[in-house]
Symmetry: C2
Subunit: 303 residues, 2 copies
């Protein structure tokens, strides 16, 4: 509910202050979130780069219902660019178009994205557009399509589970898009998306090969061993260099694996969220991985 998000945002500040005073809770949050400020994010970026990892910086924030919030988010992204470009060349920023207003006013959102892209080009920073629920998926793809000719480096997340993904990808004629291939995490009908776990994995593998053969510099957003193994073996089979594509994983998820892949010469980009609105993001990570909350609670309770 829109009103809840505002509430969450303001309570996040209080929680943030409280969490940062306690070393126990700081541990849980800082596993998944770089911190609340750009300085925090840059410090973690430095650490990750020392481990041979690249980053995609995500300014935390949920879908906006007000264009003023969308402009504010755009501005905050733009303000992050100089530091990111200077301290971590080759980095990207990941942006949710719902945060730039796509559900409120698609044209205003396109203007926000364009503003961000112009500034990002000036600083040599890549922009990656996250995919969201299918209720706004079409608007997101249209907005991306409109900016692509002038900003060909821009990347968009595409979901292997969605039946529309292949026709969507094939519809790009003159400029082939950079994509981040993900499995797809939203509730969809069977007509819209594959549901069966094995089928989704099989589709992910099929799109992996297709992307390696047809698209420039694809990114593989996955934490799944089978999918990662498939990316590696297909790249080998096709004679594609380890630097001609990349893996993407969330900050705090499969950290060992991220470092191993980097040591083996693969490009690995870590999706690194920061900002005051970290609370809903953290709860989503917790919802996916009860074991993490379990560990956290155990450490608190001493059980």
């Amino acid at each position: 509910m829109p009103s809840r998000l505002l509430l969450v945002a303001s309570e996040s500040q209080k929680l943030g202050a409280m969490v940062s005073r306690s070393p126990l809770t700081r541990g849980l949050v800082s596993r998944y979130v770089a911190g609340t400020t750009l300085d925090d994010a840059m410090a973690v970026t430095d650490q990750l780069r020392r481990q041979g990892l690249e980053v995609s910086l995500d300014l935390l924030g949920e879908s906006v219902t007000d264009l003023a919030d969308a402009e504010r988010a755009t501005q905050e992204y733009i303000e992050a660019l100089p530091a990111l470009a200077e301290r971590a060349p080759g980095s990207s920023v990941s942006v949710k178009l719902s945060q730039l207003g796509v559900a409120v006013d698609q044209r205003a959102c396109a203007q926000n994205l364009d503003k961000l892209l112009v500034a990002a080009d000036e600083h040599g920073v890549l922009v990656e557009v996250d995919m969201e629920a299918s209720s706004v998926g079409k608007a997101i793809l249209e907005t991306f399509r409109a900016v692509l000719p002038r900003h060909q480096q821009t990347r968009i997340a595409m979901q292997a589970a969605m039946r529309q993904t292949l026709p969507d990808l094939q519809s790009f004629q003159e400029v082939k898009p950079r994509i981040r291939l993900v499995k797809g995490a939203f509730l969809e009908s069977l007509e819209t998306a594959a549901q069966d776990k094995d089928e989704v994995t099989a589709r992910y593998k099929w799109f992996t090969t297709w992307a390696l053969e047809n698209l420039p510099d694809p990114a593989f957003g996955t934490h799944d061993d089978a999918c990662i193994a498939h990316v590696r073996s297909e790249a080998d089979r096709l004679g594609i260099d380890r630097r001609a594509f990349e893996f993407q994983m969330l900050y705090g998820v499969r950290r060992q694996l991220q470092q191993e892949l980097a040591r083996e010469g693969y490009r690995v980009r870590v999706y690194l969220p920061y900002g005051s609105q970290w609370y809903p993001y953290l709860m989503r990570r917790m919802a996916e991985r009860p074991a993490n909350l379990l560990l956290f609670l155990r450490s608190l309770i001493g059980g």
Copy 2:
């Protein structure tokens, strides 16, 4: 991602065992969830009924990707009916059609729902169909529409924010449906749904009047003071008895208010979740209300 849900389900069991051993964590969970078993749910139901509240029992579970899971959920609902009917006459069960398989196979889901409705009719238990993301919203409404003539007591949640809600409601000709009016909690495009907080509240109020005038026994699912006040004043103005409609609220949310309304003679139904898959539900409640997690963490840390 489908695979995550299975993981969450199995880890929920471990977490459940751990949580139930610790009085501290038990407090957080048991504020929002009746427990893991039907016995737990019946014990809480008894408590609530002593306070003059009615219940709608929700068997926790997420969207299934496998029809065997959908049948299992249906069967578990059916098995809960005798105890519910005997110990708490007038109760309902709330069901998510995604849990009965609507995203996998709409016809199989309709059969599951029909099986549940036939059993519920035998026991005199109402069934309420929850609304979900718009990717499956149309299939949910179609499935409801198909069963309505034979099961006219069935209730469906309708979202005030959605622009389709009025035409959908007006399209019911012979049998007027019972509805639970909610604001709407999903990410939607502006063409599909109102976004502005005040506009959504205004739409909720408008639909409140419309439902009181046009529909049998409407339920108002809201925790919002302004919306509740509007329901009360419109019912007064229209000369509608306090027992001819009901309020619905989540277990653990605005508990004082629930009891106050019941004392004033309003019908109040508490949405009461139980089951082993409580973890994602609890995280959603936490995501909405950081203050609750804050209180919980404070009590743990002694801060």
